[in-house]
Symmetry: C2
Subunit: 141 residues, 2 copies
Amino acid sequence: MKQAISFITLGVRDLERSRRFYRDLGWRESSGSQAAVAFFQAGSVAFALFSRDALAEDAGVSAVGSGFPGFTLAHNVASEAAVDTTLAEAVAAGGRRVRVGERAPWGGFRGYFADPDGYLWEVCFNPFFPLDADGFVHLPE
Amino acid sequence: MKQAISFITLGVRDLERSRRFYRDLGWRESSGSQAAVAFFQAGSVAFALFSRDALAEDAGVSAVGSGFPGFTLAHNVASEAAVDTTLAEAVAAGGRRVRVGERAPWGGFRGYFADPDGYLWEVCFNPFFPLDADGFVHLPE
């Protein structure tokens, strides 16, 4: 299997609420979006919002689940100050600040916000991993 | 906030089991990996495996959670046949086949496997979204 992730899909409880949140964060939906699914290109990966029940049904699993979903997304930025401003943007768009920007034990600086379904986004300044002009990380080979 | 996802981090219960699974799937770890965290570059996004408890602690939330995690990752391939062969590769690496390759209502063809923690991967042939040579989707603007 190629080392590729084509889509990340979040199963959401209120699609309109979620698409509004990500739009208010400044993201632009693809024209390929439909009433039942919102698509956003985020670098080489496509980010999708889809009904939580429909997502579970597509996989053929129960939609029942609660608590920590077990994963995080991260948005890396170029400075400590940008962590704070990005967290403020997320709160202005209706997100919930989960952890204020603070130094991490490994030497970076990060905070967290939650989207309308509680999915966690880390906003991180990592001095060890360079970002390209589009804000993407390039790990050492 | 830029339309960028820098990292996807899965919180796993047994890091060695998970890194072995993804390696057996054919993925190659970054030399930036450490004992406590495994990194894999997957296009513009970095994929990370980290202890589930440590991930929750980093976010400052409870690690308690169960059932459907509410998200899926997708690996798109270029044909229906490649869906089946990729699912077989995942099973050979120790994954669990959750849904065999089947036609989806929207006209694609997809199946699902679960990684060692039950995180769901869709393997999908989508005739409507072209793939580039590296297997990445480019949504219409």
